[in-house]
Symmetry: C2
Subunit: 113 residues, 2 copies
DNA sequence: TCACTATTTCCAAATTCATGGAAATAGAGG
DNA sequence: CCTCTATTTCCATGAATTTGGAAATAGTGA
């Protein structure tokens, strides 16, 4: 993963409103949620929500699928997985890992190094 | 973890310069890096670096320890681990998980749910 | 105390972001 | 074609971010 992509994804999630939207979609799983459903749940103007949704879609964190007049939004899990990997992959590559580093959590999160 | 904290941490990482700084520190491990060392590696004005470093320290992603006149910076791993957990914990809580969700990667990343 | 290095804080300018009303667009159905 | 719902795009505005030079501060040692 390139730094620019990871940083764009992190920037997208680095806003409380968007993080809330994203977590709503993560919870919703494969069924996803219509834009309108998200709007109802969070109670914000459609215009504002649309701006935020685009910021999540652009870096590939969320996908949209049209169903008649409604747009279903879904969290794109591979993107989240790759992003998490990017954050933990190079852990301590040049030094010594601390006692309870992230490496002790995942099975093969740092297989690359 | 509270949404506000997670979003502040993600926002801090959501800038290419800061993500680069952070990854440098992650690679450095427990030894950490002096501010000046980071400055040399990335080649930026001390003032700019200092601003960015503070944005990483404020939400708890990085810590600093003074050694004489130099300040050693270190990635604070527990924060990263908690952040990663926050992103993956509620995966599909309200729906069905996709075939290859993040849940299949870590050992107990979603133990809470 | 003076000098020196390392780093931060002060300040300001340019850029980007967040917000939301109003108008435009997309699709479904009569 | 008209209308209705769902959603986006256009546009504007205030707020926050990014950047970096200059000055201030912290620590060390002579």
């Amino acid at each position: 993963m390139k730094l620019e992509i990871a940083s764009a994804q992190l920037e997208a999630l680095g806003n409380p409103v968007r993080l809330q939207i994203y977590r709503l979609l993560v919870r919703a799983g494969v069924d996803g949620l219509a834009v309108g459903a998200v709007q109802d749940k969070l109670g914000m103007p459609a215009s504002t929500l649309s701006h935020h949704m685009r910021k999540l879609i652009e870096p590939g964190l969320v996908t949209q699928e049209r169903q008649a007049t409604t747009l279903i939004c879904r969290a794109h899990y591979p993107a989240m997985t790759a992003l998490i990997g990017y954050l933990s992959d190079e852990c301590c590559a040049d030094g010594v890992c601390p006692p309870a580093s992230v490496k002790t959590r995942g099975s093969k999160a740092s297989a690359k190094a």
